[in-house]
Point group: C2
Chain length 225, copies 2
């Protein structure tokens, strides 16, 4: 890894402090103790859907990380990059030294992507985004996905009865990736879905009390104004 060629430059993170995908990366940067500059992207004027932003991410989404000549999009690719590039500082989020531990980080990171995210994101969208567009939340969509979320969290409840965190007895990217959407979910009327599961509740209280997360959560004001 040619890290030395990129040394001495401050990372630029294009995004917004209330965006769940931007905060996923910000939490990671704070956990690793990596200095960065947050470059705001004006979503309301559609800056992300026009050049030059589209040259950074052709899907027109935030966040984007620029590290020297390297431009990286997709929040979970950025967190992996940061965790591996800065593996010797801050919290070890990927455990590259242990075959079993690093594999379990991958497994439970994929669980977040393919089991958790697809069912929690429509709930967040209905509750926070639709009202901003003058629409009412579609309760049928909420209910359908709450039912699926309960089933996913039942598996988490069992898992967290065996290990303190999802990938094992250590905090990792697998936990971290869940935090933005869980934070917003806990502000909805359906937070009992977490609270009713003792292990999941304790896990959320633990990970959401980490200093790196608290710094980022201060800026997570989506839907509050």
């Amino acid at each position: 890894m040619a890290e030395e060629t990129l040394a001495g430059q401050v990372l630029k993170l294009h995004g917004l402090p209330m965006s769940s995908c931007t905060t996923r990366v910000m939490i990671c940067l704070h956990e690793k103790g990596v200095e960065f500059e947050l470059v705001p992207v004006d979503l309301f004027t559609g800056q992300h859907k026009q050049p030059p932003f589209l040259d950074k991410n052709p899907f027109g989404q935030i966040p984007v990380l620029e590290d020297g000549d390297l431009t990286i999009f997709e929040s979970r690719a950025i967190t992996q990059y940061i965790s591996e590039k800065y593996k010797d500082q801050g919290t070890d989020l990927v455990h590259p030294g242990s075959l079993e531990q690093c594999t379990m980080v991958k497994v439970w990171s994929e669980v977040e992507s393919h089991q958790f995210n697809p069912v929690i994101s429509p709930i967040i969208y209905q509750f926070f985004v639709e009202p901003l567009q003058g629409k009412s939340p579609d309760q049928a969509i909420v209910d359908e996905n709450l039912e699926k979320l309960r089933m996913v969290l039942d598996v988490y409840e069992e898992r967290l009865g065996k290990t303190k965190y999802l990938a094992g007895d250590f905090f990792s990217l697998a936990d971290l990736h869940h935090m933005p959407f869980l934070f917003y979910f806990m502000k909805t009327p359906w937070s009992s879905v977490v609270d009713e599961r003792a292990k999941v509740k304790a896990w959320w209280e633990d990970i959401s009390s980490r200093d790196a997360f608290k710094k980022v959560a201060e800026g997570m004001k989506f839907g509050e104004n």
Copy 2:
């Protein structure tokens, strides 16, 4: 990585040759030239939703890989594991020696997970799975997702005008992860969505002509009987 402790054991892959997620892993195993035993899972009697299978994957889904004492689920976690464990044999699918290349593999693998998969999987489901359950495909769901798929593939078309494969001028996991659903999609009445995009079409013809894929495609008979 304690590879030596696992040496000499044949990997066990629990799954089915027609399952898109199982074939994602099988293509990877063939690319790496890794010997494995395919252990069939009887989905029709619900074997995957009962113990002892649920001890292997608490979400009750195929595939699951067993490598000695290590049990791994989520197909994209398994392919990463195989690609890294066997990094010195077969096709290099993750390019760990180059910061830029391995990062672009991560970026475009996340694109598959979060841009491509969510829009192509409902189309595949409506066309192949609903009829098996005695239902008609919901054309509104198909049309809505075809529209989104066109937009995703427009980005791919531009990308593939600059690099031969998604992550760069080398075949990687980022391409491989797309193959099972694209194979089935090309059997639907909407394959022109691929064929109308010259670069995407050429990319699909290239990657689907690889020996590792052709071996696996022979068993992909979903919906044909």
